[in-house]
């Protein structure tokens, strides 16, 4: 009897539900996480140490270079600058004088005109005309004087700076001294860096070996226990990620989803379409357990190839099996930064517990470093690096939409569920989104299941499309098949009265 029960539970709910195996799996995943953690930490620290070393050396070199430059080129530069300012000042002064002269000339010419009308003697007019010439001479003289003063100053300056020019030997001496200093500095700090790297290597290797040993023994135990249980994954075919069987979801008398069954294949982009109120979002909520289905089965095959009955999984455990979702209305934590939003999505990947958090133990710092690095990579992949430290409050809608998708990527997804990703985006953004979805599928090797109203996007991106109306299946197939289907056309456009 006992044996029979065991096999029954294994076949019905998948391997995860057998309690003994579940506990073993948990332990194994804990040790696996630790092993990868120390591996990643080692990489990260070596990168960081090298970077710090480089910047330190660069700063020191730059400082010395600056010292040398001041000694070497100071006088030349000052000369150049002085010459230029001299020229500018002289030009300015000349123009000013010319202007004053022109004003004077105009005044005198007007006076002469007036005098000519009154028939005064020619001598008086000649006197005034002479006056113009005199004024011109006067102003020219003034500019000349100014120029002379300026040039004299410049000569004085050059004589003063003779010491600079003669001091080439001192510059050479300084250069030799600084190069020596630089060499010593680099040698000292390379030694320090090597020591640090060595320490990190020893620390990480020690931890790695310790956890690896435990992991191997646990894996052996796991295989032994698994060998005793007959495996039958008849429920799902090998290449199927998600199987929905006879799913029903009733809200009182409203049949939101009624007897729906379909399968999503591995590495596929699966689209779900239907008119408003067809129950698309309800299907999503049933898969992620936001709504517990009235009846029907939901089977899911995780990365390891084990079949899980999703109805038996709690809502907050869904993400640990690799199912990540977005929301139709943005559900973003707006009080924290964009980066911290991603860290919230990686919440289940932290192995450290509450006490380690409160005491601030080093294990948390190690985990934080590794996960932050991964978050940075994902931000770069999504093109959100610019907004890394911004508060999510008040960011543009398109950025927040992208952030939601980035959040799903942070959760190590095997199946991504997108609820209307193109809602509120313009045409060019929608085109970008289509490329992005394909890129995600190829890069992260996961299946994507999406609901969308934008027919262009769905027909462009999806490999398989399922059309539903009032909770019932209308048609399933490729984009062309769906477009030709008469029932779908009727559901979207209505039936004409003649027929």
């Amino acid at each position: 009897m006992a044996l029979k029960n065991k096999t029954k539970s294994a076949s019905q709910y998948g391997f995860f539900t057998s309690k003994k195996i579940q506990a073993l799996r948990k332990k194994i995943s804990f040790y696996e996480a630790r092993v990868t953690l120390y591996k990643d930490y080692k990489e990260e620290r070596t990168l960081e140490i090298n970077e710090a070393f480089q910047t330190k050396i660069n700063n020191f070199l730059a400082k010395n270079k600056r010292l040398l430059l001041t000694k070497k080129y100071e006088h030349e530069d000052l000369e150049k600058q002085f010459n230029q300012t001299n020229k500018l000042a002289i030009d300015k002064y000349r123009i000013e004088m010319r202007r004053k002269f022109r004003i004077k000339r105009e005044q005198i010419r007007r006076k002469i005109k007036r005098l000519r009308k009154k028939d005064v003697s020619q001598e008086l007019i000649a006197f005034y005309e002479n006056k113009i010439v005199l004024y011109e001479k006067f102003y020219n003289q003034k500019t000349e004087e100014y120029r002379n003063i300026r040039l004299l100053k410049f000569n004085d300056f050059i004589i003063k700076n003779q010491d600079f020019k003669l001091n080439i030997e001192a510059v050479d001496k300084l250069e030799a001294k600084l190069t020596k200093k630089n060499e010593l500095f680099t040698i000292k700090h390379t030694k320090k860096r090597d020591q640090k790297l060595n320490r990190i290597n020893v620390f990480c290797d020690k931890k790695y070996k310790k956890y690896q040993k435990k992991l191997e023994s646990l894996r052996n135990l796991f295989e032994d226990t698994m060998a005793n249980i007959p495996s039958d994954n008849i429920l799902l075919a090998e290449d199927v990620v998600l199987g929905v069987e006879n799913l029903c979801m009733f809200f009182g008398g409203v049949k939101a989803v009624n007897d729906l069954s379909f399968t999503v294949k591995k590495g596929e982009i699966f689209g779900l379409i239907g008119p408003n109120g067809a129950g698309k979002t309800t299907v999503f909520n049933c898969i992620t357990q936001f709504n517990k289905p009235t009846s029907g089965q939901l089977y899911y095959r995780n990365v390891l190839g084990e079949v899980i009955n999703l109805n038996k999984v709690a809502i907050h455990d869904i993400i640990t099996h690799g199912i990540a979702r977005t929301f139709q209305n943005l559900e973003i934590v707006k009080e924290v930064s964009v980066l911290e939003n991603l860290l919230i999505a990686a919440h289940r990947q932290y192995q450290s517990n509450f006490f380690e958090h409160a005491l601030g133990l080093p294990i948390l710092r190690i985990e934080e470093k590794v996960i932050r690095r991964r978050a940075d990579k994902i931000l770069k992949f999504m093109g959100l690096s610019f907004y890394r430290d911004w508060f999510a409050w008040g960011l543009p809608y398109g950025v927040l939409k992208k952030l939601e998708i980035a959040r799903t990527l942070m959760a190590n997804p095997h199946l991504i569920i997108l609820d209307e990703p193109a809602a509120g985006l313009n045409d060019s953004e929608t085109k970008e989104l289509a490329d992005l979805i394909r890129k995600i599928r190829d890069e992260y090797k996961c299946s994507i299941f999406l609901v969308e109203h934008d027919m262009g996007l769905v027909m462009d991106v999806c490999d398989t499309i399922l059309a539903i109306s009032f909770g019932k299946k209308l048609a399933i197939g490729t984009a062309k098949e769906i477009q030709k289907n008469k029932e779908v056309q009727a559901a979207y456009l209505g039936v004409s009265e003649d027929e």
Binding site: N59, L69, D77, T288, I318, I332, E335, H347, S352, R407
Partner: protein, 362 residues
């Protein structure tokens, strides 16, 4: 003349790296260093008091602020980070008071340490039980529920003993060292600083982030793998634990209270803690500390020294009330928001100076 040189240097030499910071800077920017500094300052005040420089009444009000601050930081974690409103602080403080009294007087336990452990255990257990019952509802209903539960607890405690609770000073000792009013203050400061550091660590860890996520968006938190009940319960238990510790120190410092007339076991206590957290800034530990000081210490330390308020003590309450209204009206984030704005201004001024000195970064 000198300007040319500067210009030349700035053009050709690389700019200094802004990211390089001194070790001292690193110590004072992390919460551990900052709170440790606060602890040193608080204990220095007491040493000055023992030397006779600071008057005794000011010191006692500072001590009460420290004791209330323990309850306030627990409440800050509950309200500001987890978004749960509770009005049950008075009840949990009462539990701390009564257990210390019964431990020392009725059960005749030796020293202050064993009652402390009992207080911690009982408030954690009680927090679990009450949280499990009441955390299935949210918002204002939770406040009503916790208020009712706290009233029940207080009523129960008062039926057990309503006359004055008095501890004889011979019983007050840690590991055989007898403590008086002056020396128990140091224990209060040490516990306050340790709890502050622990809370600050929690806030900056995944646990704190999970709490904020839960407050901001329930469905996002659930989809990201955060168990609502677990983290709500955690925040609630922490707040009850802190309130219990606060009550324990209240009696240990005062040595005798009469529950029938004392205000500490009434609704006004819970409301004062709520007010302190909101005035200070619900999402900031420093703000919470400052808010507690504003509610409990501002009158007795500052306003009492002004001659006008000495003549008419009724205006003192009005003045603090007026200040509270001003702060809440113009700065909804509390004092923390004012300090944050000042910090931003300072930063922008610094950036201006930098651009003036080194030019614009490319």
């Amino acid at each position: 003349m000198y300007n040319f040189k500067n210009e030349y240097l700035n053009k050709n030499a690389p700019r200094p790296n802004y990211q390089v910071k001194s070790k001292l800077h690193r110590v004072f920017t992390n919460p551990l260093g900052q709170f440790a500094l606060l602890g040193v300052i608080l204990s220095l005040l007491q040493i000055l008091n023992m030397m006779g420089i600071i008057p005794r009444d000011i010191m006692s009000s500072i001590a009460f602020v420290c004791i209330y601050a323990i309850a306030a930081i627990g409440f800050c974690l509950l309200l500001g980070y987890s978004g749960l409103a509770s009005l049950g602080t008075a009840g949990f403080i009462g539990i701390g008071i009564y257990i210390l009294y019964f431990g020392l007087v009725e059960w005749k336990l030796a020293g202050l340490l064993v009652p402390f452990i009992i207080v911690a255990i009982i408030s954690i257990v009680l927090g679990f039980v009450i949280g499990f019952v009441s955390l299935r509802i949210e918002g204002i209903y939770l406040a009503i529920m916790t208020l009712a539960l706290s009233e029940i607890i207080v009523k129960l405690l008062k039926t057990i003993k309503e006359s004055s609770l008095r501890i004889s000073p011979i019983n007050l000792h840690f590991f055989g060292i007898i403590v008086n009013k002056d020396t128990i203050y140091f224990a209060v400061v040490v516990v306050l600083i340790l709890l502050l550091i622990g809370t600050a660590n929690l806030i900056n860890s995944p646990t704190g982030r999970a709490m904020v996520a839960m407050k901001s968006s329930v469905s996002a938190a659930q989809a990201m793998g955060i168990s609502l009940l677990k983290y709500r319960l955690l925040a609630f238990v922490i707040s009850t634990l802190f309130a219990g510790i606060s009550g324990y120190f209240y009696l240990a410092y005062l040595t005798s209270i009469t529950p029938a007339t004392s205000t500490i076991l009434t609704l006004s206590m819970s409301l004062n803690i709520l007010g302190a957290v909101i005035i200070g800034g619900a999402k900031s530990l420093w703000g919470t500390l400052f808010g507690t000081f504003f509610v409990y210490g501002f009158q007795s330390i500052f306003l009492q020294n002004i001659p006008f308020f000495q003549e008419n003590p009724a205006f003192m309450v009005m003045a603090t009330g007026f200040l509270i209204i001003l702060v809440v009206m113009f700065y909804p984030g509390g004092f923390a928001q004012i300090f944050y704005n000042l910090k931003l201004r300072f930063k922008s001024a610094k950036m201006k100076w930098r651009t003036h000195r080194y030019g614009v970064e490319e």
